[in-house]
Each structure stands twice: as C-alpha cells, then as structure tokens.
C-alpha cells in the first residue's frame, strides 16, 4: 500500500495533539450539586475507568479519515502483464569491433558490449509494460529472445550475448529485416526497433536501406545508435606472448546510412561517444516512446480510501452508540 499524498499525514499530529491537550485540559461540563461530598466516597466502576474510550475512538476515526484523505492505494501487479504496451526489438551489434574498450563504467574501462548490456538492462527494467525482443547480430542476425513481456527471462538471456556467437561481420540490413520479421506478426499499438551498431554494413544479403524501406512499409520505427568514440579507440589484441595489449584502431561508422534509416522510418539517429551519452540516448528513446504511447504505460491501482472511510464510519457509529448508551455521560 502506498499513499498518493502522504503530506496529509502531517495533519495527524497537528490535529490530534492539540485535541488531546484540550480534552484533558478543559473542565468537563457538569451539574451544580449542593455538595460533591455526597458522591465522593463511591468506588470507581468500570464505566468510570472507560470514560475516555469514546474520545480515543473519535481520535482513531479522525486518523483514519486523514489516512483516507492521503489517498491510500495498492498497485496491482497483474495489471502490468495485461497492459498493452508497445513492441520493441533491440538490435545489438556483437561483432568483434564491439570489443573496443573506449567506454567506461565507474571509471573502469570496459568493452562496448558489456557497457551496452548494462545500459540495456536498465532500459528493460524501465519499460515493464512493453514486449521486448533481443536480436544480436554480426554477419548474421541471431534471435536471443523473441518478443516477450517476461523481462526476467529477457534479462537472463541478455547475459548470454557474447562475441563469437556467429561469424564475424556487420549485417545491418539482415538484422533490420530480422527485427521487422519479428515485429510484423506482433500485435500492438506501435512497433519500434532500436538498432545499435559500431560499424559499416559489410555482410548480409539485404541492404540496410532496403530493409528500412520494408520497415517503413510495415510501420516499424527505427531508432539508430552509432556507438564509439570519434577517432581512435583502444582495441585489445593478444601479442605473441599471449598478453593483452591495446592497439588503437580507427573507428568507422556509417553514419549516413544510419541517419537515412532513421529518417525513412520516422525514428532518430543518435551518436554515443561514451557511457553517459549512451545512457542518455536510451533514456531519450524511453521518453520519446513514453510520451507518444502514454496510455500504454499506465499503472493500474486500486483505491483503498473507501475501506478506510468505511472502517472510520463504522468506528464512528460504534463510538456514537457507546457514548449514548453504556458510556453515557451527562450533561
């Protein structure tokens, strides 16, 4: 259970403390009697011991009303799977060029693939209502996970993505085609591909722009991300003695094609030069898609205020009945 506006809870001490103070401070209304000594020697009964109960019940009622005012609600977990989100295919370049260590995480140099995996993990967790698929590609596309809303399964499969799963190369066109093929059968409000690559299309049978045309025809939007620093990137290779040494390699990204793909399908092209900008890009895409499909990212909650009000009213009724029957006080 969570509260919509917990600020209202400040009312509880603000009201209850002064009320209690006034209640115990004030002289109760009384009958003038010739001599209180006439009744002074009587032993206290259970009614007299319980005489403050109605007041405390009143305070409880007040507290419950304030809690109800604060808007208690419980988030229904199952409503997430029912929610109709968008379909998204994440295309992940896993060619050996992704092993370049030009991105940092927490000040530590990591290869691009690891960085992208960690960024993707966050991205996946931020979109619990969407159906996501993951396709790794090199010379050929490889479907790591079809479109699914089971994100824990998706996350565990993301860990499986490694170098050398398939023949080395960068088949951007084939990857887009594979993504489009996955998406075209899916039902949903919107279909989106996020393509991340660090190279130039150098293998595959389909040209990237042809694949983009197909995507546009099927209403699939493609966001493209070019990953890699500008200029040279340190690339680990093993020297003759089996030691890992870094060699600076020139980065080559076919930005023109990526831009065109994005333009054709109504998406956008981004360039990620470090971890932060990569994160920023995914956040941006996250936001872009959220704004557009706001209704698909709703959170179904169950309002609980009525229960509080009902309980409060029941206690109030009980208090009124008590104070007017067995705990009656006059005047």
């Amino acid at each position: 259970m969570i509260l919509k506006t917990p600020e209202f809870l400040y009312l509880i001490p603000l009201l209850i403390l002064p009320l209690t103070y006034l209640y115990f401070l004030r002289q109760p209304p009384s009958f003038i009697f010739p001599s209180a000594a006439f009744a002074a020697g009587l032993r206290p009964t259970w009614r007299i011991r319980l005489r403050h109960v109605p007041f405390f019940l009143r305070l409880l009622v007040l507290t419950l009303f304030i809690v109800a005012l604060a808007g208690p609600e419980s988030v229904l977990e199952e409503s997430k799977s029912k929610a109709e989100g968008i379909n998204m295919a994440l295309l992940l370049d896993s060619s050996t060029s992704m092993a370049a260590e030009d991105f940092m995480i927490n000040g530590k140099r990591m290869n691009r693939l690891e960085v992208i995996k960690s960024v993707l993990k966050e991205f996946i967790m931020q979109r619990p209502n969407d159906r996501l698929g993951l396709i790794a590609f090199a010379a050929k596309p490889y479907t790591v996970s079809p479109l699914t809303s089971d994100h824990s399964w998706l996350l565990s499969n993301l860990e499986r993505v490694k170098f050398g799963l398939m023949e080395d190369g960068t088949a951007i066109g084939s990857a887009i085609a594979a993504g489009v093929a996955r998406l075209r059968k899916a039902e949903g409000k919107s279909n989106v591909i996020i393509l991340l690559t660090d190279g130039v299309n150098n293998s595959g049978k389909i040209l990237p722009l042809d694949a983009a045309d197909a995507a546009a025809a099927l209403g699939v939007k493609i966001y493209t991300i070019g990953a890699g620093t500008k200029g040279l990137a340190p690339y680990p290779i093993q020297d003759l003695f089996g030691r890992t040494v870094y060699q600076n390699v020139k980065i080559e990204i076919d930005e023109d094609t990526l831009k065109k793909i994005a333009k054709k399908t109504g998406g956008e092209y981004f360039r990620a030069t470090d971890t932060d900008s990569l994160k920023g890009i995914y956040e941006r895409i996250d936001k872009l898609e959220k704004v557009k499909f706001e209704e698909s990212s709703y959170r179904q909650v169950e309002e609980l205020f009525d229960r509080f009000v009902l309980i409060a009213l029941a206690i109030l009724l009980m208090e009124i009945v008590l104070a007017r029957t067995i705990l009656l006080r006059i005047p």
């Binding site: 002289q27 109760p28 209304p29 009384s30 009958f31 003038i32 009697f33 010739p34 001599s35 209180a36 000594a37 006439f38 009744a39 002074a40 020697g41 009587l42 032993r43 206290p44 009964t45 009614r47 007299i48 005489r51 067995i326 705990l327 009656l328 006080r329 006059i330 005047p331």
Partner: protein, 300 residues
C-alpha cells in the same frame, strides 16, 4: 427602584402564602408559638360576634348555653427568620429552587407572624451574615422581607450556620422564635466530629425557640440511573464523576444519604431543636401543617 418582575413575584408569594395563612394554618401558628404565653382568663357567655372557635364545648354542654373561653393576650413576640443564601441552595431537580422555596417559607411564616401581631426580622447568611433586617411589624415590612430574600445576591460562596446563629444571639435581646431555613450542608466540623453549627445552635436554643427547617431534594437522597454524571460542588467547585448506571453505586449513595439524614435528625434531637423536613418534590404546606399539629400536641 425595584424591578417589576420582582414585584410580581413578591405579590404572587404574598397572595399564595396569605391564603395559606388564613385557610390552612388558621390559628395553628398562634397556638403553637403562643402556647406558653397564652393565659386562660375566664369562661363567659357567648355573645353575638364572638369567634365560634373559641366556644368551650364542655362548659356549653354543662350549662346549656354557649360559653366561650377568654384568654389574656401574651405580650408580643419576636420571630426571626435565618435564611441560607449559599450557592448550595440554588439547586433543585423538581419544581422550585431551594432558595425560592426558602423565600416562600419565609413569606408564609412572616404573614403568620404579622397576623398574630408579632415582630418579624430576618438574617440572610452565607459564610457570613449578608443581610440583617431588624424585627418590625406590618405588612409592608413583610413585603420587604420577601423582596430581600427573593432577589438577594449573596457574596459568600460557603455556608456557616454557626456564624448566623451567633449573630442572631447577639442582636436580639429577648426570647424569640427563630426559624433557620437552610439545607444544612455545612461541611465544617468541630473537634468532636459534630457539625460545626451544633455548639452555636445549642447555645442559641437555650435562649430562643429554634426551629430548623431543612431543605432537601430527592436527588440528594438517591440517584436515578442515567449514565455517568459529572457533579460540581456548588460551594467548593470540586468535581466528581458518578456512575449512576451502576446498581452498587446507587445503593451506596442511597445508604450514605440515609445515614447522613439520620445523623442530622439525631443531631437536632440531641439539641432538643424542633425540625421540619421540607423537600422540593413535596408541597411544603403539608410539612408545615404536620409540624404545627405535632407541636400543638406537645404543647398541651
């Protein structure tokens, strides 16, 4: 200037008690208080215009002609009325407040007194003597007494009966008939554990003829079940919460009240003080008539 509503009240009490005095008490007051002083003079033949009540039936039967008894008028008497105006008298759960009842009693006694050609005086007291009206005769004097007792605003918040009695003893020179109208709720005790007024009353009673008129209310005697009641002492302001719904509590309260009344009666009897019990829920006329009858019997 006296407010009109007070005048109305005075007038109403006058009419009411006047009727009472002429019809109900008719002559009773006279014989009760004049008993000792009224001396039998002679028996003479009835003449036209004589009071038929004065006919001596024994002599009439023996002689065959109506005869009446003739008495020698006793010297005029002084009647003092001591009225308790303490806050505890501003209370009643039925009919009229005790203070109003006290005013009516004072009026009835005053009218009885002037009818008998007695002087009447009054002391209004709380914890001090608040007002003293010296004994005088006349209807207008009685009306003044009623007015004073009706709309008197006491300053004191407590009761001190002893002080009033002592004052009365000081200001009077002759023997008086003295009515003390009070609820006799005076929590102060002397060192023997008796009510504080006992000593003063005993002294006053040796010189005067003291008649204690106690004002009671049924709620002082027993509680009715009606939940918890917050009671505030009229004089001390102390509060006490009473659970009137509890059977045991009601019983204990009634027992305590009965013991209290019994102790009070015993106190009066031990001092040889006459005592009239007046309750707010019973018309006081009956109590007064009964008292007069009782006293008459004793006088004979």
């Amino acid at each position: 200037m006296i407010p009109k509503d007070v005048l109305d009240k005075v007038r109403r009490i006058e009419i009411m008690t006047n009727r009472l005095v002429t019809d109900v008490f008719a002559g009773q007051y006279h014989s009760v208080f004049k008993g000792r002083g009224m001396e039998f003079d002679e028996v003479r033949e009835y003449q036209h215009g004589d009071d038929v009540r004065a006919i001596d039936w024994n002599v009439t039967a023996r002689t065959g002609t109506p005869h009446i008894k003739k008495f020698v008028e006793e010297r005029e008497m002084t009647v003092m009325i001591l009225v308790d105006a303490s806050p505890s008298c501003q209370f009643s759960t039925v009919n009229e407040l005790k203070s109003r009842l006290a005013a009516e009693l004072a009026a009835a006694l005053s009218f009885s007194a002037i009818r008998n050609n007695d002087k009447i005086g009054m002391v209004v007291f709380t914890d001090t003597v608040e007002k003293f009206i010296p004994p005088r005769k006349g209807r207008s004097h009685v009306l003044r007494i009623i007015r004073e007792v009706l709309c008197f605003q006491p300053k004191g918040r407590k009761t001190n009966i002893a002080a009033a009695l002592e004052f009365m003893t000081e200001v009077t020179t002759r023997r008086t008939v003295c009515f003390v109208i009070s609820d006799f709720i005076d929590p102060s005790m002397d060192k023997d554990g008796r009510p504080a007024f006992v000593k003063a009353m005993a002294i006053a009673n040796s010189r005067h003829d003291i008649i204690a008129i106690t004002l009671n209310d049924p709620r002082e005697q027993y509680l009715t079940p009606c939940g918890m009641i917050e009671l505030e002492d009229a004089e001390t302001g102390a509060c006490v919460l009473v659970d009137s719904s509890d059977k045991e509590v009601r019983k204990a309260y009634a027992i305590a009240a009965a013991q209290r009344l019994l102790a009070r009666d015993r106190t009066f009897r031990s001092m040889d003080v006459d005592h009239i019990d007046i309750s707010t829920d019973v018309p006081y006329v009956d109590s007064l008539v009964r008292f007069f009858a009782r006293r008459k019997k004793r006088m004979r």
